[in-house]
């Protein structure tokens, strides 16, 4: 069994589920963040001998980790439905408990998980712009100057994440298991994107790059949950192959 886990309002989640199903990946279950948060019955076990997970969805489907071979995980957070019934004084605690629980059960899933959760994000690293800038620079991507100070107001925009005035100058690519999908980028930039993926210790990373009038490419941001549609069918094929063959996760 393979799983696609995403919010019901995530177009990439729905697109990839439909695409993978058409490619013949079966059985393939689409699990929404909202169904996990509404009346789902959980049993997550840990011990010295290993971990296990079993959950029953409100629609009657039962998912057991022993049957899972691979997962496309696009959960950024538990749905607020999971804790919005908590009284106001308990809501922060309930939210922290839910995040901690999701981090554990997602981490325990066997097989290929794209992406595995880390404490900074349930679907891979969600880093502060300053950390992305450092990593992008180490990976060999050109970066603009990032500056932060205690004089910045709460609403201050963060310089350093460079956004061009003309959106046509923005390119989004997806680095996934040693390849770059999406926009057309020079080979040196593609290699730097792959190094950033490796530097980020995750399986898939969406990377935004800007070009200027001089043809220079500048790092503009990164996300572990990119819009998969920009990778098109080639990305979907690679995803299917990785989920079936075991990939690198």
């Amino acid at each position: 069994m393979w799983l696609v886990i995403s919010s019901s309002s995530d177009p990439s989640g729905i697109w990839s589920w439909q695409g993978l199903r058409q490619m013949g990946l079966a059985p393939l279950e689409f699990i929404t963040a909202e169904s996990l948060a509404s009346g789902c019955q959980w049993e997550h076990r840990l011990g010295s001998e290993g971990t296990s997970l079993k959950f029953s969805l409100p629609d009657g489907r039962v998912i057991s980790s022993s049957a899972v071979r691979g997962v496309l995980n696009r959960l950024s957070a538990p749905s607020p439905l999971a804790f919005d019934r908590a009284v106001a004084s308990d809501r922060d605690y309930a939210q922290a408990e839910m995040f901690a629980f999701y981090l554990s059960w997602l981490h325990s899933l066997p097989g290929t998980v794209i992406n595995r959760p880390v404490p900074s994000g349930l679907s891979g690293p969600w880093l502060h712009p300053s950390e992305w800038m450092m990593r992008a620079s180490r990976a060999g991507l050109r970066t603009s100057v990032y500056r932060q100070s205690s004089y910045d107001g709460a609403a201050a925009t963060r310089p350093g994440i460079y956004l061009p005035a003309d959106p046509r100058m923005m390119n989004n690519v997806i680095a996934f298991e040693g390849e770059v999908f999406g926009g057309m980028v020079p080979d040196s930039i593609a290699q730097a994107c792959i190094r950033l993926l490796e530097e980020s210790n995750t399986t898939m990373l969406g990377i935004s790059l800007c070009t200027d009038d001089h043809g220079r490419w500048t790092f503009a941001g990164a996300t572990p949950t990119p819009d998969l549609r920009c990778g098109g069918i080639p990305l979907l094929r690679h995803l299917a192959h990785s989920l079936v063959s075991g990939g690198h996760s």
Binding site: F99, F101, L103, S104, M133, M134, R147, Q148, S149, Y151
Partner: protein, 320 residues
Amino acid sequence: MILVCGIPSESPLRMVIARLEDMHADFVLLNQRESLNCDLWFEIDNGEIRGQLLISGHAYDLRDFASVYPRLMDDRLLPELAGEPADSPLRARCRAFHDTLLRWMEISPACVINRCAPMATNSSKPYQAQLITKFGFRVPETLITNDPDRVRAFRAEHRRVIYKSISAVRSIVKELEDKDEERLELIRWCPIQFQAYVEGVNLRVHTIGGEVFATAIESDATDYRYAGRDGGEPAGLRPVDISDGLADRCLRLTASLGLEFAGIDLKITPDGKVYCFEVNPSPAFSYYEGMTGQPISAAVVRRLAGAAAEQEDPLLALSC
């Protein structure tokens, strides 16, 4: 130069400052209660970080800090902000200062004891437990569920069962008792963590800079941290030696989590099995040092000073 941040009267920080003064170390104290008199900026240009910390008008180049020991409390709870509305400019200014400080510490080349990112494994105890088992430690049999019937079956199987928070939010570990039966239905709203009770002797192991300090805790309480409450006997603490193999595993576990300093909670069963409950990334070691005299704060200072010495003479790092 060494930077220490926090409230100087807080016990762990007080001990570290005392040791730094004993050794006449070159250090700067950022008193969090005076953070409204502080400013900080940094910038990243081509992967190089530069910036300045201003404390009461005195400027320090961030590149001069070779090591940092932060023990910061939640800035929203600082007494200096008591009575300030949530949206007050003073609160916004204080938040911006702390955010800038934390962001710099995450990316600084300095030795930071500890950074936020590796500390975050402790934000989910069962997640951290899965990392812990890779180092040969046992972890208690654990069930996280929102199904009361599964809890009943788990209790019937293990006889003694405790429950505690899943997240980093501190909770008092309690044993599940018959009187809790009625409340079990409440777990349907949110999965709860239950664990088989492990018999044995509690051991707190502090690891810092390659040094290991093990403390045995004798207590009948389910959660020894609260043993003296409600008229119970306070926990008894004593230093103990542990095997080289166990010490090595503790050091490797600390390093694998990306931590410089850790407080590892172990339990040794009567038949010698070693269980690990969690790795605390911000250990309040002063309790253990105060009760046993184990020189943990001196080891923290050795690590801070060692990084500072390496900055002044990089050959020192090569000779280590």
